[in-house]
Symmetry: C2
Subunit: 412 residues, 2 copies
């Protein structure tokens, strides 16, 4: 095994990550919204790297890249994404793509390991246009009508226009072939502080939590901010603020140990300083890996809405339902073994609070995920980072886990 480990080139892994960081830099992070120029350049960068790993691939009709191998034996699919949130970190996405590329570069030319790692970059994991459009397209979950309807939430550009501008209109979309892959493995930064605070190096993902999202709208009475006495106001914005504070007071008694909830966006209508808001809207999200917990919280949310209905009309509308995805047990074992051999056993089984393409791939094949520590637990911000040593340790464990999975399958 030590012989194999020597073949992971940590310097090459870091160099690749820095090459991607240099495309669309923003402070110490990057700004690469889906189909932006730096995102497209990052995709071209990956296409040019594929031959180094004995792979062939192009950008497909939805911005995915799936590099395929002609090597005989089992195929393991591995990857992540190359676009970023706005003004966000350099590792969220690229880390998993570069690990996959490194695994392919190490394993595919190795005659002693049967089979190959195939490398994927899924488009729009960050949801500029929708939810996991790239990976969902690959598993057959995106229709042409879905693409017609998708628009960039940053600037309202249609996905069709973005694909046309990128020269991708009319290209075929890569599709999942039943039986081709023995599974999917993805690496990612943890995006939390569990590993760092326990001085651990590898997270073995047991499940990816589901995301339930709600649009909660408050209707009051729009009026003049100078002439309407306080006593007769029906201020939709104030009703919304009360609701946020009330959620924070009442959810803890009902939630599970790992439940999280977030109000990420608030809009007052019309949003002018001299007008009492007649309407207000909040985007509210709950995450858990237990649908039973979500059901209890949603009941609470709806009963809270009914309680405050005397102040104005409150409507709770569920706009996204996320089923939790379980990670394959044998993949978890392979990562744990690799962590024992290459990271001094400093690994931990944990759920993923964030959504990842692995949850989409898990609907059609066994899937697993590996986490590396995030400094300060920070992510979705340009200060996101991971220590170089941890990046290299993660790469070594990832490549070893790929080899273990391929070898077990070949001998099974």
């Amino acid at each position: 095994m030590n012989n194999n480990l020597a073949r992971v080139d940590g310097t090459r892994v870091l160099a690749d990550l820095h090459a991607l960081r240099a495309i669309g830099p923003y402070k110490t992070g990057v700004h690469k919204p889906t189909f932006s120029e730096p995102h497209l350049r990052s995709l071209q960068w990956l296409v040019q790297r594929l031959p180094e790993a004995g792979l062939a691939g192009e950008i497909d009709g939805i911005g995915n890249i799936v590099g395929t191998s002609t090597k005989p034996g089992p195929k393991l699919l591995a990857g992540s994404h190359l676009e970023s949130q706005n003004h966000a970190g350099w590792l969220d996405g690229p880390l998993g793509v570069v690990y996959a590329l490194e695994a392919a570069r190490v394993i595919n030319p190795d005659p002693n390991t049967s089979g190959a790692v195939e490398v994927a970059s899924w488009c729009d994991e960050e949801g500029h246009f929708g939810h996991f459009l790239g990976s969902r397209s690959y598993v057959g979950g995106v229709t042409e009508a879905d693409i017609d309807a998708a628009r960039d939430r940053n600037n309202d550009r249609s996905m069709r226009d973005a694909l046309r501008d990128a020269g991708l209109a009319g290209r075929a979309r890569a599709r999942y072939e039943r039986g081709r892959h023995i599974g999917y493995l993805e690496a990612h930064i943890e995006q939390g502080e569990t590993l760092e605070s326990s001085d651990l190096k590898i997270g073995i993902v047991t499940s990816i939590v589901g995301i339930w999202q709600y649009r909660i709208t408050f209707t009051g009475e729009q009026n003049h901010a100078g002439t309407t006495r306080m006593a007769v106001r029906r201020d939709a914005g104030l009703a919304l603020a009360r609701f946020c504070v009330d959620i924070d007071a009442r959810f803890p008694a009902v939630c599970g140990p790992r439940t999280v909830w977030t109000t990420g966006r608030i809009t007052l209508d019309p949003g002018a300083p001299s007008i009492i808001p007649g309407a207000a809207e909040m985007l509210f999200q709950i995450r858990d890996d237990d649908p039973g917990v979500i059901a209890r919280l949603e009941d609470l949310l709806r009963s809270m809405a009914a309680e405050v209905d005397k102040q104005g009309t409150v409507v709770v509308e569920r706009i996204r339902t996320g089923a939790p995805a379980l990670m394959d047990v044998s993949f978890q074992q392979a990562i744990e073994q690799a962590g024992a051999a290459c990271a001094g056993g400093r690994s931990l089984r944990m759920p993923s609070g964030a959504g990842h393409d692995a949850q989409i791939l898990a609907t059609v094949m066994p899937a697993g995920m590996l986490f590396v520590p995030s400094i300060g637990g920070i992510s979705h911000h340009w200060t996101e980072n991971t220590a170089d040593a941890d990046i290299i340790t993660g790469a070594v464990v990832f490549v070893e886990a790929c080899r273990t999975i391929l070898t077990q399958r070949d001998s099974a």
Copy 2:
């Protein structure tokens, strides 16, 4: 006196208001942002009406119209504005312009009344580009640099571009001539429910409240909404919601009897459903006609900010300071007399909670304001309305008050 009253043509007043309503209609209201096509068309409509009242005037270099008379004797300036808030009511502004026009049509040709009413339409009272830019320009409070800097808050178009597109670039701006006018009178809908709820027909404005405006910013820690445990979050949006609720709980003990406060806009940064807001901002406004009350409330606001500073940084920044404006006592008496003669004495002295151009004119000449009832107290909304009979009563009282003011001055 009855002889005079007969000369107000209620049908003509209503027809004029409906003509303006038909320019840029939105549901039962209008949508005429400053320098929009329907706003400009409304200004041209007024220019074409001026000769009916023996007045001459053009749109000036900032979008004001001041129609002047060559009739000997005292001159009373009267008017309001013709642009609207977005998707707002049909009377907010046009009522005061049409009353002024009607007063000029009745009084100016009348050889028995010395002097004339001159009609003004002030640009941008609604503040699409700034605060009272039109009336402030007239009294000498707007520099060329102020115009250079002004931008449309709806679409960020510069005022220079708007003036150029309207064909007004390079035109001179009408300026206040010291001694020309004996004062300024403006009519407006009440924008509250005080008159309606007491079955009164005329509001005699005693003062226009000052507006103090604050930008309150909260800094937390931007992080991933799925991976950051509730216990370690520093959610700037939640801190803002708590602050809003806290204001509502604590202001009533410190405010005056007519103080009003409003959070009209809330922005979470970055405003994405899967990101814990790292920053949040609210635009907060307080109105009162007593600067002492405002000082107490501002102290409370700052001490509240200091208290919650442990959750994150809170900055309270005053971005607008409004001095209350007192209305001229003899103008109040003239309106009261006219109300006694023509509205059965169903009038009430009251402060204006809303800002009006009269507060700007009051800095250079005696000023007065008359209110008519608002149905349901609604304003700044397309459902804003006033009963036809109340519109006509208001016009009769307004014209009579103009005549009284001119007559008193002429005989003084």
